[in-house]
């Protein structure tokens, strides 16, 4: 072997940096034909949600209707067509949420009057599938937000029959957490994985770390919930919850974890610096963790979008370490939604400024705004003539 070659010391760092994830968006200088319209929604559309694989869109309408749009062909990015539409409620629909796919094609919808219902697509024998009402949840307080979680826990299913069929332990298991306008949080468990009408209240608590003091009834405007995305290893039931209320103790985002031993929910971390605890929370999103040594959570408050690292291992009193790694400002107004991509490397946010902002971290771990999709732009190819 010859001696050290002069080339050994250099690599084209520049060309590497060109493709760092922080640079994925860089080539956007040239957008070209990178977008296409895939679905047209009916008048009065007020909210929408995509199912787990993005092939179905459920849309809620201001008149209480719901429609479902499907992309029926396999392996095609062809457009979505409306497969059904029905009237679900008297009042307008404020939020629709897909149920995890292990429980069928079903959606929960939350109305402006605070009612909540669960709908499921079923087909008997050879009939065409139709959407049927499974259950309506009644409550005195309005439902503000609702999210479903699936976890691998030992199922404590009480069989109502005396037929000795014993369910195998360690099966997936659905929970539903809902936040209400009176500041309370309710966790429901699904009793029967094939019947979406059998739910049982598992817990009810308030989003405060101090469980002793009594608080007045806050008036809540909105709440944001995000379950920790499933992983094959983690067996823990965890979610993050933040409120937008007039009572500061309720507002800050807290991580709740189910304590198997004592069968109760405990706050294990709070995602707010001491001075910011009263900040109203507009949106939260928990990033999928594909193997990072920390969890990544985005929290939007009036001050901006904070990116938090959450430790994986609890300290002696069961709390998880937190670190705020970035505060991203961009949306001058309220943030509507935060959405992590499949790897948890890119965050998309929407806000009242009508922009979709794309955030990424560069090789040095610095978070920055990568691109903006402006939805306010007056249209060139508008339908109007």
């Amino acid at each position: 072997m010859k001696g050290v070659s002069p080339f050994q010391r250099r690599i084209p760092l520049a060309s590497l940096a060109a493709a760092s994830p922080g640079r994925v968006g860089e080539p956007w200088g040239r957008f070209g034909e990178m977008e296409k319209a895939v679905a047209t929604l009916g008048e009065g559309a007020a909210c929408c949600d995509w199912n787990y694989c993005g092939q179905r869109i459920a849309v809620g309408y201001a008149d209480g209707g719901i429609s479902v749009h499907d992309s029926p062909e396999p392996g095609s990015s062809s457009s979505f067509t409306r497969s059904s539409k029905w009237r679900a409620h008297e009042s307008g629909i404020k939020n629709v949420i897909w149920v995890p796919p292990e429980y069928g094609d079903a959606i929960a919808c939350v109305c402006v009057d605070g009612k909540m219902s669960l709908w499921e697509e079923v087909a008997e024998d050879s009939q065409t599938p139709t959407w049927k009402l499974c259950k309506t949840f009644e409550s005195n307080a309005q439902v503000l937000d609702l999210q479903f979680g699936v976890s691998l826990t030992s199922l404590k299913l009480k069989s109502s029959s005396n037929i000795p069929i014993i369910p195998k332990a360690n099966t997936t298991f659905a929970s539903k957490v809902a936040a209400y306008s009176d500041g309370s949080v309710k966790v429901h468990e699904l009793l029967d994985p094939l019947a979406l009408n059998k739910w049982q209240l598992q817990a009810e608590f308030q989003n405060v770390t101090d469980s002793v003091s009594r608080f007045g009834r806050p008036s809540c405007i909105s709440a944001s919930i995000a379950w920790s995305p499933r992983t094959s290893e983690s067996q823990l039931l965890r979610f993050v919850l933040g409120f937008n209320t007039d009572l500061p103790q309720f507002n800050s985002s807290k991580i709740w974890e189910f304590d198997e031993v004592h069968q109760r929910w405990l706050p294990v971390a709070e995602l707010a610096l001491p001075g910011d605890k009263g900040d109203r929370v507009h949106a939260v999103a928990w990033a999928p963790n594909i193997g990072r040594p920390y969890e990544l959570i985005a929290v939007a408050t009036c001050k901006g979008i904070a990116i938090w690292h959450l430790g994986l291992t609890p300290d002696f009193d069961g709390r998880l370490s937190t670190e705020k790694v970035a505060l991203l400002s961009g949306h001058d107004h309220e943030v509507w939604q935060l959405e992590w991509d499949m790897s948890g490397m890119t965050l998309a946010s929407t806000g009242a400024d009508g922009m979709v902002r794309i955030w990424q971290s560069n090789l040095n771990g610095v978070w920055h705004e990568q691109a903006i999709l402006d939805c306010n732009a007056t249209q060139r190819n508008s339908k109007q003539t």
């Binding site: 062909e73 396999p74 990015s77 062809s78 457009s79 050879s126 065409t128």
Partner: protein
Amino acid sequence: MAAAGDLMVHRFPQGKAVDAVRWLPPVSAFDRFVVAAAHDADAGVSAVEILSVALFQENEEPNKPSLLPRASWPSTSRISSLTSAKALTKPLPIALSTFAGSLHYLFVDPLEGSVESELSVAADARSFHRGPISALDLQVDGRACVSVGEDGRVNLVSLGETGLENRRVHDSRGLVSYTAVRWGSPAEFATGGLGFGIQWWDQRKPGGFVSQFKGNWTQGSTSGIVHSIDIHPSRKHICIAGGSSGTVFAWDLRWQKQPIILSGIGFKEQAQTSSEKDGMLTVLEQGYSLLFGVGDDSHAYATERFLDNILRIRP
């Protein structure tokens, strides 16, 4: 590959998904047509394409065959199955089914490779199939076509005086789903489905299948779905079925309980079908001398292989 000596693989990148590929009966020895079901995922457009294959070309180095488009017929839905009549007639019928649940007959000029006319059965959940049709097969003369679906229906579509006539042979009402079908004789056909199951049907004996093979021998480790069936041209009692993970087995109507596993997972010999491609479809041509395989990696490739030895196992 093991027998690299007598195997020539020619790749023809197509740029779109090729869902199925079939030979058309040859008119001349050198110029042949294949019919392919193509799906352009970018544009969301599906089509039947007729391509001419020239395996030997003048003025070119010997092993540079070409595959050139001849005609194209647009389909409104993605094509789930495609087959052509095996006997050379003019015009030549080609049948195809779609994910939307419709069935189409195309009549092709076997010399020009052009589509002359078409007939179709529209998607109808009540009278035809509900949901996608998973497989179909044409009679040798192309006058009758049997189609099966995940909905558990078996339908027979035949060329009548006025157009296509459609008749329900069986409806399992979702209890069984079929994924493959093949004619054995003008009256008999075989269907395949889950758990490597095969059913043998005889139109002269109504009221369901006449024999059935339930092959759940690989429960758990593979998905066990039959992708394609072929029936020996002269020994009608032998079916060869190809399924998930490269499983190939022979089923003999005379020894219904004892299938012969030719390859597959859990079987010592390595699977011939590359499991990476999960043999979306492997289709045999008459004479078993040319095998056209389709992977969903948007490539079509032709390989030459003799399967006679497989069929000689049980004389």
